[in-house]
Symmetry: C2
């Protein structure tokens, strides 16, 4: 499955730690393409463990993670305006 993941972490007192952990988890599964955006191909079991790990970190009432799941990237076209691909990718 092709996955696009976007997160919005509330930067309150513990927010920085949650953000760093969330970023590091996502980097282990997906490619970092923009500030809080990741994409990549995952098996169902990888997707399940990614969701489980994220669920252990984020705060239900403060943080938001959205996953778009497509059966294949064949049905998804990607277009980038402005800066292409996030060269830095060492966001933190």
């Amino acid at each position: 499955m092709y996955i696009i993941l976007v997160y919005d972490i509330k930067l309150d007192k513990e927010g920085q730690k949650v953000l760093r952990k969330t970023f590091n988890i996502c980097k282990r599964y997906l490619s970092h393409i923009q500030n809080s955006v990741f994409e990549g191909e995952l098996s169902k079991s990888q997707l399940m463990s990614l969701k489980w790990e994220i669920g252990e970190i984020i705060r239900e009432d403060k943080d938001s993670v959205i996953l778009f799941e497509s059966r294949s990237d064949r049905w998804l076209d990607k277009e980038m305006l402005g800066i292409k691909e996030d060269k830095t990718s060492n966001f933190l």
Copy 2:
């Protein structure tokens, strides 16, 4: 076509103005679902004019906008962890 749009605007001196304009343009075409994430169904001509308007605002060397285009939302599943749908949607 089903569109997912994500932007990352560099918040330097004119960044706030670019961010506000980008947000307002996106809101006219798509639904705001998270901090810098929009989604919705657009015709090809609507998509072209959205891209044109955004191209007029963002700075090629500083800002990044990614558009994922899927022929239909039937091939896309969306899952939200943490805070559901951005109720506020008056981000600015």
